[in-house]
Amino acid sequence: MRVEYIKRDVARKTFNTNKKEILFSRIVSYVVLTFLGLIVIFPFVMMIISSLTVGGSYAVGKGEFSFIGYKDIFTSVVAIDTNTDVPYLVTGLKNTLLITVPSTLLGLFVSAFSAYAFAKIKFKGRNVVFFIMLLTMMIPGSLFFVPSFIIYSHLDLVDTFFPLIVPGSFGSAMCVFFLRQAFMAIPDDYIEAAKLDGIGHFRIFWKIVVPLSAPALISQGLLGFVGGYNDYLGPLLYLHDPKRYTLQIALQLIHTQSSTGDNQMFLAATVVSLLPTILIFLFAQKYFIKGLTNSGIK
């Protein structure tokens, strides 16, 4: 009661200044957000304009309007693997999907089942194992890539998809961490009730936990997919045969091969390569944001 009274009192006193202040802060907010937003969006706008201008980013405002860049991706000599006559972008997209889809799905499944064990099975040494898993996240990734390359090249696994699919299929500690957080929100009663009915862990996981935490799983899956789709370092290290190039490598190749003085085709290829991720993001925005914010870091 008293608090309410004081609140009203404060509100009355500051009413006039508040109104002006709110208007002022609203204007400042819009100015700052729009200014920063323009910096973020500017290169994308320029990319689209350039991809429709003969001469690309060198001739914006001067060059002719044309869709030829988009046609060139599939016909130009520099954008086609001369051995197979398939455009790099097509090979790239095919290989990227061949790598990313299985490794994301398998990795997500393994991580989720492991997260289920951490969240819902009370086994001996659970905390120790979890702590060790968290510790592995602290080891800098750059420690692995030279020796991994040595090992794979001596096992003749360079220029195969093995190094890009198999390690990822074991799931990731980060994913386990996020999913464990989501699974812990499911009441233990459900699990206990299912156990009483004699249902095994895998069926509990598959029939109860997975449906109940679908949003978290979808968001982790999407983040994993986009991460794989955008991966550049892995394919750069392990795939040297043009037939095995992924989309990102193909894009980089088209950039270096396209003639100086005209990057219209390259920018058209960039637009095409960005479309899938940006569309996925726009349609599944809430999952992306959920996936990052369900972290339990408060």
Binding site: V60, A117, R126, F144, Y232
Partner: protein, 313 residues
Amino acid sequence: MRLELSKENRDPKSKVHSRAFENTYGFLTAVIPLLGFVIFGVTPIIISTIQSFTNYAGAGSPYDLANTVFVGFAKYSKVLHDKVFWQAVGTSFLNCLVTPFCMAFGLIIALLVSNTKLFGRNFYKALFFIPYVCSVVASCLIWVCLLEDGGFLNQLFTKIGWTWVDLNNPKFVMPLMIFLGVWSGVGFSVIMYTAALTNTDNGTIEAAKIDGANKWQQFWHVTFPSIMPVTFFLLVTGIIGNLQDFTRFSLVGDYYKANGSYVTMAYYLYHYMDSDMLDLGLACAASWILALIVMIVTVTQFIVNRKQGDTTK
């Protein structure tokens, strides 16, 4: 009652969930990702440690230890006496400036868009996040197309007399790389901070308001401490990532461009995996030095954070 029942396994049907079974099953399931780490993480680390003490260059089998010549710390000392490496260390540490900029802009944007009365806040949130889902190849190369000699922005800047906007100019490299890092990374900070701000207790802020705290005091004494864990998380992960970054640098420049201004620590070791400079023993030694630097920086952050936590208590 029900819980007790299941604990004692009185129900004949629930024999599947006996104590011993739970222990093995739980452990085996939970440990699969770790198993992946042991196979694809620990093995490379062992190989890397051994090879960093040998003169292994890339020819021959890395497991053929009988014919391996151990050279002690020779590779390490070669790295540590290389001027290029120390320049790379400087570049990598400068590159860490990306993190505080990302955090500052991320916090400002998050504070603005978390005002529920702001029209179009979701639009802005999505806008800042788009660079985060774009590949590093696409985002770096778009900027290169705009900034390289003859590109749209380069022409524009030349017209107004800014001739220093040049990808070959060593003085321009770091500001550009930091800008690129912030441009593509700020979305992540925005999302993390927005989530943290929606989780802050509004009651405390109301109480502070009634006590007569101004906006700045409200922010500094109530909001900021409550989002401290996210700040720490962004700082640690950001520094780890930026210390080891090299794709951004290798895409915009190359090893020899602008007097080696584009060479970071990770780029340095990657260079020795390349066919013309092949020296995998040296690359292993360099990757150990890089890993140690990253680990020291990370542990220092944790210690400082712990100490600060103690003093505020």
